[in-house]
């Protein structure tokens, strides 16, 4: 029983990271109808930025954190201008392929600069964690969960209760109508890319002390996050979060009770099962193209 509680805590912690990246996926998908396959690389790049500033240059953790997030915002701008914007009038397939190209470019540029050795990043807190009854609560996991909860609340407030959030929603639902109402669709999409790059970066920085900082962390996280969005119901914000948490828990239990080397395979099996039996996900609705 103690082990189960412990695993549940760890699973939710890691699931929260998937949820954050999944949220980035969903936001871009809703705004542009495109799945950004470089979303995971945003996390990886942010983690490396932290390593550069906080470890290599020895700057304060909070300052490095702010710089890394600013760097992600910039990356979001470059990504939009270089990858999405020139292809915005083409069908989804060229855009997908371009984002895959971008993902390869980002991952291997970092590899070329930093080499293949995984890096270590300290956690935010000095205390490693606290013992609560039978369960040991790792401080970094606690932070991840707290930040995720805060972001979900922020997200809700931002999209439902601010004018900018409403404009973003309008853009994602009907671009033509939004532009007729005087909303600049181009800048709304730019904001979406910045926001989701920052979200992805935040997830990367948070999870870096738990995993190693490596080139592969981006694609691993992105894979899980995408599976999470399908499990939750594609394009659904709540679904992405629930799906992410569920996947983290399933994976942690799978690693503990079934097999460690195949840990990364469970997400895939769950994904296939959902695709066959409930492709619309937990919250999603079946959508049909209009004739």
């Amino acid at each position: 029983m103690d082990l189960v509680l412990q695993l549940l805590f760890t699973g939710i912690g890691i699931g929260a990271v998937y949820a954050l990246v999944a949220l980035g996926f969903v936001l871009i998908f809703r705004a542009t109808n495109v799945v950004n396959f470089a979303q995971g690389e945003f996390s990886m790049v942010a983690a490396y930025l932290m390593v550069v500033f906080s470890v290599d240059l020895g700057w304060p953790y909070w300052l490095s954190f702010l710089i890394a997030l600013a760097g992600m915002a910039l990356l979001g701008v470059i990504f939009n201008l270089g990858v999405y914007y020139p292809l915005r009038h083409r069908s989804y397939l060229p855009v997908i392929i371009a984002t895959i190209g971008a993902s390869i470019l980002l991952a291997n540029s970092v590899l070329a600069i930093y080499g293949p050795q995984p890096q270590v990043l300290q956690g935010w807190f000095d205390t490693p964690g606290i013992q609560l009854g039978p369960v040991y609560l790792d401080s970094q996991y606690l932070l991840i969960i707290a930040v995720t909860i805060a972001l979900v609340i922020f997200n809700y407030w931002f999209f439902e209760h601010t004018l900018l959030g409403k404009k973003l929603q309008a853009t994602s639902q009907d671009k033509e109508m939004a532009s007729l109402l005087g909303i600049s669709v181009t800048s709304m999409i730019m904001i979406t890319f910045i926001y989701s790059a920052v979200l992805g970066g935040l997830a990367g920085i948070l999870v870096a002390p738990v995993l190693f900082v490596s080139i592969q962390m981006g694609s691993t996280i992105a894979l899980k996050a995408f599976a999470a969005t399908i499990i939750g119901g594609f394009g659904d914000v709540a679904g992405a979060i629930i799906g992410g948490l569920a996947l983290g828990v399933i994976e942690t239990f799978g690693a503990a009770y079934v097999s460690v080397p195949y840990k990364d395979g469970f997400a895939f099996l769950v994904l296939i099962a959902f695709l066959i039996f409930r492709p619309q996900g937990i919250f999603g609705e079946r959508v049909a193209e209009k004739a």
Partner: protein, 586 residues
């Protein structure tokens, strides 16, 4: 006469292709005879085997428009089948090669079946996931795959023991597979794949089983990957998991995109270049990641600036020139012979309902369409006309009620089976296959399963039928032009020709007059008369009262999803409910 034409055509096609086979034979002889040193031999062997794998991508991505980011995994299946089979299991090379293809095809088909009903995003992510899983298994299932050490001392067939002869064998395989892939677009399944790529909905209502077509494309791609992997393993005698990683899948994708995804010639160009360029720029490989980073950049740049690749770029100019000078053949007048089981009614709809959640878009509607007439379905905006049409053609599933077409119950059939049963339709917002010529579009219509007007459905008969239909709508002389060069009104006519070519039992026209100018409307009216004169039953939906009242003998009126009037045209139009629905009540 009719029996000999296809035979003659086939023979002509063979004669035209003789140069290809002569060139291929020369290449095989060269590969066997030239004395390459080991380095050149390895590069040639790699280029040849990789090209076969990239052919697979040209089928699935170029022809069918579906993405596969796991080609290296399928390549790996073939390689490990030959690797493990000839070493650990001591099985004949040929059996292993066959088994490798088989495993790849089955895996590809399974993967496709689980995902291809959904959008392309799913496919991209699922194939990446699949690729990762396969790599995981190759590394971790040490008992079976030898783990990270890989498999060495892989055997070759007795006949091709030397590297030189093995290369010649691979070149021969490349030539044969290349020939098949090159001609795939002209076969029935190839045309279906192109139609699916251009417009899935239109493909469905023109009698193509979209899902099955995609699964076929995916399985063919995987099978070619397996074949290539088997050849590769025999050539290099050693395989290890890193040769079949996600990075390799990306390399395959880049090769395909660079050369031109639509053609096997492009595949060979792209593969050759991307194997040679890194050899010339070996220093790039000294920094890990650098050359893959450049591949990534290449992918973005190609997609942005040269979406059809090198070969596509070269051929596009040539095609434009050829379409202008190539005069289409003259055609006989189009014959429409709607099938019949003899009943009075072609279409009988009883108690049809379609609810979206709480909204009753169509509510308990009856429609009976008499054979040989023009029947109109009218109603104000939002009255449920188009929903009715979509339920009839199977794009929506009926909530309740029944639909009988010429004595066959089609209520629960998917769109392509309804088309096979004799339903033809056009769309309010035109849905043509935009990358094809007018003639090719209409050929897809002519290919409807059960079309008795094209005999056994040979390529010659299809072209003839399509030409007749295009000539019937007055566009025969522009048959070889791309859809994009036609005006809106002409595109609508091509859509009608596409439906007519299939010789339907019932033709559904969804607002055919929408967006047409007054001259075009007159032409359309003339066309409808000529169609009706041949005895084809038409169900038309339109707002244009002049058109409807002149063309239709019988009118059904919908409002708020319910039938409010039905009967002979003039009587219905004078019906007080109809007048108040359209003009408002006083």
């Amino acid at each position: 006469m009719q029996a000999t034409t296809p035979v003659l055509r086939a023979r002509l096609a063979l004669i035209r292709h003789v140069p290809y086979f002569i060139a291929a034979a020369i290449l095989v002889v060269l590969a066997a005879g030239m004395n390459f040193d080991g380095y050149v031999l390895n590069i040639l062997l790699q280029a040849t085997t990789f090209s076969v794998a990239v052919f697979g991508l040209s089928v699935v991505l170029g022809l069918c428009g579906q993405i596969n980011l796991a080609q290296a995994a399928f390549f790996g299946f073939g390689a490990y089948a030959v690797g493990l089979g000839t070493t650990d299991l001591h099985v004949s090379y040929w059996l292993c090669l066959l088994a490798g293809c088989g495993i790849a095809v089955v895996a590809g088909a399974f993967l496709g079946m689980s995902t291809l009903r959904l959008g392309g995003h799913y496919l991209a992510m699922v194939t990446i996931s699949f690729q990762q899983i396969v790599t995981l298994v190759m590394i971790n299932a040490i008992g079976i795959t030898h783990g990270p050490d890989g498999v060495s001392n892989i055997g070759r067939p007795e006949l091709f023991r030397t590297s030189q002869s093995y290369l010649a064998f691979c070149v021969a395989v490349l030539a044969i597979v290349g020939y098949l892939v090159w001609h795939l677009p002209d076969t029935r399944i190839g045309r279906a794949m192109r139609a699916v790529r251009d417009n899935e909905l239109a493909a469905g209502v023109n009698g193509i089983d979209v899902f099955r077509t995609k699964v076929y494309a995916f399985a063919i791609c995987a099978g070619l990957g397996g074949l290539a992997g088997g050849l590769f393993a025999g050539g290099f005698a050693y395989v290890s998991p890193d040769q079949f990683s996600f990075a390799e899948s990306i390399v395959f994708l880049t090769m395909s995109l660079l050369g031109g995804v639509a053609s096997p010639i492009g595949s060979v160009i792209g593969t050759g270049l991307l194997i040679l360029i890194p050899e010339w720029l070996r220093f790039l490989k000294s920094v890990p990641g650098l050359y893959l980073a450049i591949y990534g950049l290449f992918v973005i740049l190609i997609i942005r600036f040269m979406p059809d690749g090198i070969w596509g770029f070269v051929t596009a100019g040539f095609e434009r020139w050829r379409a202008k000078i190539k005069a289409p053949p003259a055609a006989k007048p189009l014959q429409l012979k709607p099938a019949t089981v003899g009943g009075d009614m072609v279409l009988e709809v009883k108690g049809l309902s379609k609810h979206f959640g709480g909204l009753k878009a169509v509510d308990n509607v009856d429609i009976a369409v008499r054979r040989g007439g023009v029947h109109a379905l009218i109603g104000p905006n939002g009255s449920g006309k188009t929903t009715t049409l979509n339920v009839l053609s199977g794009l929506y599933k009926a909530t309740s009620g029944s639909i009988m077409l010429d004595g066959t119950d089609i209520t629960n059939m998917p769109p392509h089976e309804r088309t096979a049963a004799g339903l033809g339709r056009t769309f309010q917002n035109i849905r043509l296959f935009r990358s094809m010529t007018a003639l090719e579009n209409v050929e897809i219509g002519a290919e409807r399963p059960g079309n008795t007007m094209v005999g056994a459905g040979g390529a010659g008969a299809l072209t003839e039928r399509a030409m007749e239909a295009l000539t019937f709508v007055g566009l025969g002389n522009r048959a070889n032009e791309l859809i994009t060069s036609f005006s809106y009104g002409h595109q609508r006519l091509i859509e009608i020709a596409r439906a007519l070519a299939s010789n339907p039992t019932l033709l559904l026209l969804d607002e055919p007059a929408a967006g047409l100018n007054s001259t075009e409307k007159l032409e359309l009216h003339e066309l409808l008369k000529r169609i009706a004169a041949q005895g084809l039953t038409i169900l038309i939906i339109d707002h244009d009262m002049t058109l409807v009242s002149e063309a239709a003998q019988h009118i059904t009126v919908l409002n708020f999803g319910r039938r409010i009037a039905d009967g002979e045209s003039m009587a219905v139009l004078r019906h007080p409910d109809v007048m108040s629905a359209y003009l408002g009540s006083e």
